[in-house]
Symmetry: C2
Subunit: 332 residues, 2 copies
DNA sequence: CTGAAAGCGCTTACAG
DNA sequence: CTGAAAGCGCTTACAG
């Protein structure tokens, strides 16, 4: 038997308007508050979110869209988002888009149904269709990543090119001379940026920058990384270091190296990117470029809350600097 | 500028009732359908989920509550739940309860606000308060795990005791004689069951079953596992195998073994439980007891959908048998 | 087949 | 301070 405002009002002997006011801290007499509070408690009244939301125009739900729940980098982001948002009484809806633009666009369309008050999205591929769908959105969105300049969204991103530089400098500094790169798909934002950054970093040095020192995995996953890493080590036996575009790909390099009889870090130094929890779980522990995933999550959530509070705010761009976390796979 | 039924009705020159019927495939003339469909398309009309939900009593949202988004076992469960539910047009809301009973109870209470039509929950600790909150729920819930017998919920669980047996038999079969156990907190359901199963399994054999061969991590995490595993190997240097209560703890054993100068599997065989994605990412790859997490997720989602469709269904209990997945950390 | 009306459960001007 | 009423955007008996 459902208990609504009416039941509480009847029990308290007041109108439903008074119940609503008393419960929401609006103006009400002490006596009303007393009666209503007791009646509500006795009946175990809980306001219906949907009705409230319909009336108020806000759902108190935020959506956080990630490309792949299996990628550990999102774990920290998600926790940070939840923490930043908890105080404000929002619930966080996680949506896993499976690295598919279609799924992302579908999500954006479903958001038009107004089940969320805001969106934090970390798109892997920024296509025209994606941008169109994003522009159609009727709720605020914060993008973790990059967007063409003419799209006025709040953006939180890292400087992964600088991150690549940190990694390369570290490898060179520790005496490595033939550095390979295992990238993810280059039609993704991170794949494209990191790939270019790697080429640029090598170009600044005297080091060999052969095409066969680079490989591209079909996706940013361990399984695809394993295939590509095996190929890479087959093809370029002279490598003494490999930078991988994320930690899952780096884990794959560790495995491929082992199969090729290479010791890490003695024969081959390996560096990942993301500094996810996986980095310390691997063996040897993984030197990784932290791209501030927790920080990005936190800042994105804050920007979103700020924009929900005041939609007229100018769009902001926050850049989180990368940091090299040195562990055993590529020591000093 | 918001477009509602009224705008579509005005443009199509019909009543809002007709718009609703035409759009929902209710009875309507071909001409009305034609007019309405076009008007809706031209205006980019998207029905408001909240209003629909309020009227219909259903939100088309399901909640999936996991203890820790950082635990890779939930990745497969989540994917399976999403897949099983996709066809039915439900959105899956992931809630991360951070291994805290309080957070779980808070979640159950928030569910009373009716933002979800159903819940799949995998509780770590089944306390009285938890059960009370579960019983108060006004929407169907499916539990992944165990519950006292007198609670008539749909349950999907594995037989982790049988899983422990598989692991022990495998270790004995491959010549191990001094088997340690790294458990998670024993006040959790899995911790308690797996701990007892380990004791029982050893009791059936001739093997030594000393108290100092067992250790308990403060939580089912890598970090807590590392502390406990290090202690265990310090205290019991004679072990030739360790079974860990999940894959994260097993990863910790791998690290602790390395620090103790033990080779895996030569000096120490290691087996995990869950057969999560982490198992093949570790090095050596981890032999692990699959507890059918994807299957549990899928079955739980199916039970939930069935119960939403027909709340009068008798409560079911589904048991997924475990399976040993042999990899390098404990080969045949 | 169609429209006017009621109602899902709330919140909030508006009178009093 | 309080209550009656309107309305958020839908769906669906009920007449016609």
């Amino acid at each position: 038997m459902k208990v609504t405002l009416h039941e509480v009002a009847a029990r308290a002997g007041v109108s439903i308007a008074s119940v609503s006011r008393a419960l929401n801290g609006e103006i009400a007499s002490a006596r009303t508050i007393e009666l209503v509070t007791r009646a509500a408690a006795e009946l175990g009244y809980i306001p219906d979110q949907r009705a409230r939301s319909l009336k108020l125009g806000a759902t108190r739900q935020l959506t956080f869209a990630v490309a792949d729940v299996g990628n550990p980098v999102y774990v920290q982001m998600l926790r940070a988002v939840e923490d930043a948002v908890r105080e404000s009484g929002y619930r966080v809806l996680i949506s896993s888009t499976r690295s598919s633009v279609e799924a992302e666009i579908e999500l954006l369309q479903s958001l038009l149904r107004r089940h969320s008050d805001g969106l934090v999205i970390s798109p892997l591929r920024v296509t025209e269709d994606f941008l169109t769908a994003l522009d159609r959105l009727t709720i605020p969105a914060v993008v973790i990543g990059r967007l063409p300049d003419d799209h006025p969204y709040d953006i939180v991103r890292t400087d992964s090119a600088a991150g690549v530089d940190l990694a390369i400098d570290h490898l060179i500094g520790s005496g490595r001379r033939t550095i390979g790169f295992l990238n993810g798909p280059t039609d993704t934002t991170p794949g494209s940026i990191r790939g270019q950054a790697f080429a640029a970093a090598l170009a600044r040095t005297e080091l060999p920058a052969a095409e066969e020192h680079r490989a591209t995995a079909a996706d940013f996953t361990f399984a695809d990384g394993l295939t590509a890493a095996t190929e890479l080590l087959d093809r370029a036996p002279g490598l003494d270091a490999v930078l991988a575009a994320n930690d899952l790909l780096a884990a794959a390099v560790l495995h491929a190296a082992h199969r090729h009889g290479l010791r890490v870090p003695e024969d081959l130094a390996v560096i990942g990117m993301d500094d996810s929890e996986l980095a310390s779980q691997l063996m040897p522990t993984l030197t990784s470029v932290s791209l501030g995933s927790a920080e990005r999550g936190r800042r994105a959530a804050e920007l979103l809350l700020a924009r929900i509070a005041d939609p007229s705010l100018p769009a902001q761009q926050v850049i989180i600097p990368p940091e090299l976390i040195i562990r055993d796979s590529a020591p000093s």
